[in-house]
């Protein structure tokens, strides 16, 4: 993989009137990385992308591409190419004309353009489709044409604004793999915007989790998933059971939380919050459904939760048990389906067990809705 061109955001603020869309963003994206901005809609991730591509001037701070400050440089002069959410293929141009639009602008001859278009069409497995109109292609094919058009401009950085959101599930999963492969092949920096954690986790080298204009956490997929820095990151990425409470005891990087409804529970403090929690602080503890398992009933301790099963679900790869803990606290448990026999527990009281290293404590904070 070539070194590629990095992108840096320095103290980036973007305001629209009184509304702050991006608040003091600091991100270093390494050259050749696949970097994702993950967040719910309206969190400012598209705004960051528009600032990088040059459609928007930051209110404060700088965008650096390959170390060069992009202040005052228009989108047509930046070494970036953007893949729009709606793809924005030119409807009146044939596929090959679409792909080589950047060459037409540069004044290349029709013969050269056609040649380059055919190469790119081969790459995206659409050989011979160059004379069709975009409207004559399927969703996934259009998607690939948009990628080819962006790559034809030979950008240093490719920006993708939720390009898969319009596709159906199967195609989306297929395109994830394809995008990742294309990125490895061309070796340029990809900056990917998504609200789909699955996309972010499967494709990215690094992910920035965004909430209401603020970047909560930057890290690789595992760090984001296993070691969330904030309550928002913990609740937005993947499923999590949240227990609210106060820190009652600290021992090294573990904390005993006296939860509001489920008694005292032990958990690991996430890396970003080492040394930041004090006894008596409001805290939130997160346990993933798959980190819980069924224990022999009657077991007690600071890594056991008692609950009553309300209903069960078979999801194929997992059995989901929905339970109600003490005081009506909802807890979800996922048990991998390994072909074992599985009894119906509905209505029964059960005891759940987890390992303290699989539970994470962060300071109390805003959760992602849904």
């Amino acid at each position: 993989m070539s070194a590629g061109v990095g992108v840096d955001l320095e103290n980036l603020w973007i305001r629209f009137g009184d509304f702050v869309a991006v608040r003091d963003a600091n991100v270093n994206i390494k050259g050749g990385d696949f970097f994702s901005f993950l967040g719910p809609s309206g969190c400012g991730k598209t705004t960051i992308l528009r600032a990088v591509s040059g459609f928007l001037e930051p209110s404060e701070g700088n965008v650096l591409i390959g170390g060069n400050n992009m202040k005052g440089i228009g989108p047509n002069k930046r070494p970036t190419a953007l893949i729009f959410q709606n793809l924005a293929l030119f409807p009146l141009m044939k596929v090959w004309e679409n792909i080589t639009f950047s060459m037409e602008i540069a004044g290349a001859s029709a013969r050269d353009r056609r040649k380059r278009a055919d190469e790119l069409l081969d790459m995206i497995a659409l050989s011979g489709q160059g004379d069709k109109l975009p409207s004559e292609l399927s969703g996934g094919q259009r998607q690939r044409v948009a990628i080819a058009r962006a790559l034809c401009a030979e950008p240093d950085v490719l920006l993708l604004d939720e390009p898969l959101s319009a596709l159906d599930l199967k195609l989306r999963q297929h395109m994830r793999t394809e995008l990742r492969e294309i990125q490895k092949r061309v070796g340029i920096t990809f900056i990917y915007i998504t609200h789909d954690q699955g996309e972010a986790l499967t494709m990215s080298d690094d992910i920035a989790v965004m909430r209401a204009g603020v970047i909560d956490q930057i890290g690789d997929g595992k760090a984001i998933y296993n070691d969330p820095a904030t309550a928002f990151a913990a609740s937005f990425v993947g499923e999590n059971n949240v227990f609210r409470g106060k820190v009652s005891k600290l021992s090294g990087n573990e904390a005993l939380i006296s939860t509001n409804r489920s008694g005292d529970l032990l958990a690991r403090i996430s890396t970003a919050n080492h040394g930041k929690l004090k006894v008596g602080d409001d805290a939130m503890m997160f346990i993933r459904p798959e980190a819980l398992s069924l224990a022999t009933s009657g077991s007690t301790g600071d890594n056991f939760v008692t609950a009553k099963v309300t209903h069960e679900e078979f999801e194929g790869n997992t059995f989901n048990i929905f339970t109600e803990g003490d005081g009506g606290k909802e807890i979800k448990v996922s048990i991998p389906n390994l072909g074992q026999s599985f009894d119906d527990h509905t209505g029964q009281p059960i005891t759940l067990e987890y390992e303290a290293s699989n539970a994470v404590v962060v300071p109390a904070g805003e959760l992602a809705n849904e």
């Binding site: 047509n76 009146l92 950047s102 602008i105 109109l133």
Partner: protein, 394 residues
């Protein structure tokens, strides 16, 4: 159920018939008058089929000059109105949203202002400008051509803007952004992406602008100066009485319109057929030329167009051979005979009346035979009749 269905269907047809009679009836009658020989345009009584009114039309210097000026003004109006309309439409999409409603009202206002007012104000304003620049009455600014184009464009540009805005609303602004992102300048993005997209609307706006300009009278009447347009010439001609030559002109305009409409329809149909053919085309065919069935198969408008063309050419061809002179002479002769006959009849009738009267009043010898009694048939109660004086003496 059946019968009420039938009634509805019949009444729809009747309604349609009335509707189209109302729309097209006058055009039909007028077209007929262009081919009838009497000197005043009328469809009945039919006298002789003639093409002379067309040659009369083509010999009329003023009409020809009017057409030339109208075309000149029309082209100028297209260029000015469509570009102003496009600029106005683009501005509407770019302007600060809170100002949009106000801007729209301002830009639409010329449509609501009476053409007469626009005409007068154009004349007054540019006359001032002309004088301010110290130019004479025959300068470019005041010789009529410029004034008419400017005056008409004042409101035609608003029409154009409406047409263009409708298309522009369907434009995806990210397409321009995509072009910019791929390295295009704003001018290139406009030329290569937005402009081709707007082309159909620009074409319709041009047609609209030309037609609106061609038929305009009330603005032009103030501004035409040395360039009287067709409508101005026609209006002036009508003051001295109208001839079927004007019907002939109108007929030609109707035929040209039908031609244009059919051509447009045939074109649309052809595009549909190309799109249809592309769907089934193989990759190889797409790269080459798309085979579309010949123009005549399955394309009704094209067939009608060709039919109309053939009919028109043959009618024009036969008009050079056909001479209505014999017919006109015959009609003339017949009319003379009829008139004489009528006169004779009147004379006979009068003689008969006189004889009857003489027989009836034979007993009264005082009355003179040579002074006919006016009676109450004449105007003013017969006060000017010669016999009135006699009676008043009694």
């Amino acid at each position: 159920m059946m019968t009420s269905d039938k009634i509805i269907r019949v009444s729809i047809w009747v309604y349609l018939a009335i509707f189209f009679a109302y729309l097209l009836g006058p055009l039909l009658i007028m077209s007929l008058t262009a081919f009838n020989s009497p000197g005043f345009p009328r469809a009945t009584p039919w006298e002789c089929l003639t093409f002379d009114w067309f040659s009369a039309l083509f010999q009329d210097e003023r009409i020809l000059n009017g057409i030339k000026n109208s075309v000149l003004v029309g082209i100028g109006t297209i260029i000015l109105s469509v570009s102003m309309g496009l600029a106005g439409a683009l501005m509407l999409t770019q302007i600060w949203p809170k100002l949009r409603a106000t801007y729209y009202t301002i830009i639409i206002a010329p449509i609501l202002i009476p053409g007469v007012v626009i005409g007068i104000s154009t004349l007054v304003f540019w006359d001032r400008v002309n004088r301010m620049l110290g130019l004479g009455a025959d300068s470019f600014l005041s010789n009529g051509l410029f004034l008419t184009i400017i005056g008409q464009s004042t409101f035609i540009a608003s029409y154009c803007m409406l047409v263009l805005v409708a298309r522009l609303q369907r434009y995806d602004m990210t397409l321009t952004e995509a072009a910019l992102d791929l390295g295009a300048t704003h001018a290139q993005a406009f030329r290569k992406v937005l402009f081709p997209f707007m082309m159909p609307a620009i074409a319709s706006a041009s047609v609209l602008a030309f037609l609106a300009s061609f038929e305009n009278y009330n603005t032009t009447t103030f501004t035409f100066g040395e360039y009287p347009t067709l409508t101005i010439e026609l209006a002036q001609k009508v003051r001295y009485g109208i001839t079927p030559a004007i019907s002939a002109l109108a007929f030609m305009i109707v035929i040209l319109t039908v031609f244009a409409a059919l051509f447009n329809e045939a074109n649309i149909k052809r595009k549909e057929m190309v799109a249809e053919a592309r769907k089934d085309a193989t990759v190889g065919e797409l790269a080459g030329k798309i085979e579309v069935p010949g123009i005549l198969s399955r394309n009704t408008p094209a067939m009608l167009l060709i039919l109309l063309l053939v009919v028109t050419v043959s009618v024009i061809g036969s008009s050079f051979v056909y001479s209505p002179n014999q017919c006109i002479a015959d009609v003339h002769e017949q009319k003379r005979i009829e008139t004489e006959l009528r006169i004779q009849q009147l004379r006979d009738q009068r003689a008969k009346d006189a004889a009857e009267k003489a027989a009836k009043e034979g007993a009264a010898p005082v009355q003179k035979q040579t002074a006919p009694k006016a009676g109450n048939n004449s105007g003013f109660g017969g006060v000017f009749a010669p016999s009135t004086l006699d009676n008043s003496d009694n």
